[in-house]
Amino acid sequence: MTNEPVIEVDQVSKIFQTPKQGKVVALEDISFRVSYGEFVTVVGPSGCGKSTLLKMIAGLTPLSSGRILYQGAEVRGLNTKVGYVPQESKLFPWLTLEENVGFGLDPRRYSREQREDRIRNFIKLAGLEGFEKHYPSQLSGGMAKRASIIRALVYEPAVILMDEPFGPLDAQTRMILQDELLKIWEQKRQTIVFVTHDLVEAVALADRVAIVTHRPGRIKDILKVPMDRPRNIFEIHRQKGFDEAYGRLWNIFRHELKIRLDQGQSLDTQKPSR
């Protein structure tokens, strides 16, 4: 891991204009850096603007102020150098699994054989052999998710942005996929920025965890996770360093929750009892 940053987010704010509430500050004064080969998770409550942050790095959403540098150059317009894994798998339903996986392989950069080779290798890596000719509607949720991840990995962008990719999955599938993701990442060492609202997931996967507060979204803190790799996702609680990192993360969150409770904000479904 070099210390040279691949992404530099510099005092970025995002203000949405809504017809009902007027101006809503989604993100305020966000600054952080991500180095090459780093696995950074961004954790925060729902609606805190962490997905918006990813979309801004990808150049899908314009910033209200500040700037984002990608490999030293300011992101203006679409950033086609990143891979993007959306919340739902969003495989193209009209393409077969292998066509989906190969979608981002530019024929000008890869020969036909190279493309076929890569597709085959990544499908194998994700354990999807035998399903090459299947359409997404014929795949299970977990399989579609795997395919969606390797679709972003296959053309080797320097950075992969992941927007709560494991959110909609059941707990077991989720763990298996987290484990697979780490294994693939340990082989390829692409930079990953991974958005999640799950504290355990945030700690288990990351080198560093960026904590985003509830609206307006600010970066509260960035924690280092001093755990060894490779990690065992299935017994992550027993691994040295997990408790401490999780404890620190939870402390910050508990503080956040307390502020919101004291302000009398309801926590989504539960009203504060007195």
Partner: protein, 275 residues
């Protein structure tokens, strides 16, 4: 009836071919029964010149085929539809696509198109006769007009339904304009496009016939009007049979295309409402 109480419906427990045989037999029975009743009723309870009869229609069908008149008229109507329908469908799809791509274009022209759409389009048919004469081109015009709108609206609706995330993803993965259009947008909209094409098939035939009713010297519509004018009811039915066949053949072709283009869609089972 006994097995309808079991967990599965009786159709599932039976092998597929038995069920399909049974469905076909009942269908044939219904059709056969209808023709039989028609044959009996004609001349006995209802005047034959009003409803003709299956046997008279059959005889007149053979006569008209042998004399070559049916072929001649059918060929004319076929040409009108064969030119007007693809032109109308393609330009409707293209316009729908362009409106979907360009918001400005849509904002400018949408009210205009809606206004034209508001006119009962068959009311414009006489104008086409004035503009394009009584030959096939006026009918081509009417067919075009009727197919254009259905295809336009369906394609445009599909474009508006497009999931932005598919486009964003494709562009992030470096898709070229061409790739974005033909590997992402058109496939995503294809169910809507095909629905438009399929619903516009009968309207294309209606367009040709309406045009021929108004002013023509040949074509199935002309043949039907002429026959009705001299109470040759059997010939009217012969004309209707030809039109039915045209629609059926066009539908079959559309089905084949649909099955190929939409093979990625999950086949939806017939919804079971009864427990």
């Amino acid at each position: 009836m006994a097995d309808s109480n079991s967990a599965g419906s009786p159709e599932i427990s039976r092998p597929y071919w038995t069920r399909s045989l049974w469905v076909n037999l009942v269908r044939l029975g219904v059709i056969g029964g209808f023709f039989l009743l028609w044959e009996i009723a004609s001349g006995r309870w209802i005047e034959p010149f009003l409803i003709s009869s299956p046997s008279r229609i059959f005889t007149s069908l053979i006569d008209n085929i042998q004399s070559g008149t049916l072929m001649e008229h059918s060929w004319v109507t076929f040409k009108e539809i064969g030119i007007g329908f693809p032109l109308g469908a393609l330009s409707g799809i293209a316009t729908g696509y362009l409106f979907g791509r360009s918001r400005t274009l849509a904002e400018i022209f949408e009210p205009i198109i809606m206004a034209i759409y508001g006119i009962p389009r068959t009311a414009l048919a006489p104008l086409f006769i004035v503009w394009l004469g009584i030959g096939i081109w006026s009918k081509v015009g009417v067919v075009f007009l009727l197919t254009f709108f259905l295809n336009f609206f369906n394609t445009y609706a599909g474009m508006k339904q497009m999931d932005q995330e598919y486009i964003d993803l494709a562009r992030l993965m470096g898709a070229s304009k061409w790739k974005l259009t033909f590997r992402v947008i058109f496939p995503a909209v294809s169910p809507y496009i095909l629905l438009g094409v399929k619903t516009s098939i009968p309207f294309a035939v209606i367009g040709a016939i309406v045009g021929e009713f108004i002013a023509a010297t040949e074509g199935i519509g002309f043949f039907i009007r002429l026959s009705a004018g001299v109470f040759k009811t059997a010939d009217v039915f012969v004309g209707i049979i030809v039109l039915m066949c045209m629609v059926i053949v066009m539908n079959k072709i559309a089905d084949l295309v649909e099955r190929r283009v939409l093979q990625w869609q999950t086949q939806t089972e017939h919804v079971q409402i009864q427990g």
